[in-house]
Point group: C2
Chain length 168, copies 2
């Protein structure tokens, strides 16, 4: 499995050796841990967890989204999400409005307080991301996003690609 790519003649596929792939795996692990560390620290002050952060993030990204849409993005059970949403609604960070056309649906929005926490969390996370981007440079950022995109499950990739990407 190792040397299969090296016998290709050109060294253009050297990055597919087992060692290279293992390094990529470790890079994902270490980077993801750093990536969540700042928000986690902030969330402790509010007695919320990572699950709350994720919900808040996606509600902010797509205001008015329904519970089932959010479920699909988070990839958890409705029971698990509901526990989180209940506290966020009770604490006045999220508003669940009855759907206009379909009254079974709940359209989720951040309140002013919810938006404020979202900003605090996002600021910290973006600061680290920005520093990493600055350090690595624009070309690296493009590659970074390309690889992550290729790694995603197709359904989520479709959602991901549909989101707006540049400043208004």
């Amino acid at each position: 499995m190792e040397s299969a790519t090296e016998t290709h003649g050109s060294e253009s596929l050297l990055f597919l050796t087992d060692e290279q792939l293992r390094k990529g795996i470790e890079a994902m692990f270490f980077a993801y841990r750093a990536f969540t560390a700042d928000p986690d620290r902030i969330l402790e002050n509010y007695e919320y967890g990572r699950a709350h952060h994720r919900a808040i993030h996606f509600i902010n990204r797509q205001p008015g989204l329904t519970v089932s849409t959010l479920l699909a993005m988070l990839g958890v059970t409705k029971q698990s999400l509901n526990r989180v949403l209940r506290t966020l609604v009770a604490d006045g960070l999220v508003e669940a409005r009855v759907g206009r056309q379909d009254k079974r649906e709940r359209n989720l929005h951040l309140t002013a307080r919810g938006a404020s926490l979202e900003r605090e969390l996002s600021d910290a996370q973006r600061a680290r991301m920005r520093a990493a981007y600055r350090n690595a440079g624009p070309a690296a950022v493009t590659g970074f996003r390309q690889v992550l995109e290729a790694m995603m499950d197709p359904d989520l990739r479709r959602y991901y690609q549909s989101m707006k990407d540049s400043a208004p």
Copy 2:
């Protein structure tokens, strides 16, 4: 490609807009979920979890490492790790040898069975990583690794950089 890299001057930092950074954050989230999905599925058959996988991964990477070294890499408490290690040792996947110089230390090694599970998990994870790498191309892979590296906490980055990177 993004338009951010195509122009220079004031627009050369367009990739640092909030929207771009938020996309990067989402990319990390979605990709990381896909990244862990395959091993998680395999681990269910063995009644192990992600924590076992991580321990097995690092013991394989650095055979003979001590418990404290592993703790530093995983970033969890010794109580949490100990629960995992105990089951792995009891099940005959990991061997904890008393240190030769310092007998307080335990040098961790995978047994044949442990190495076999490691391979099964790693094969799945590398397959996805390989597919993503193939799809994105060598230049993207370089960028991917650069950004992840820049995102890591310095201590772990040092460990990460010290690991061998190419096939022997």
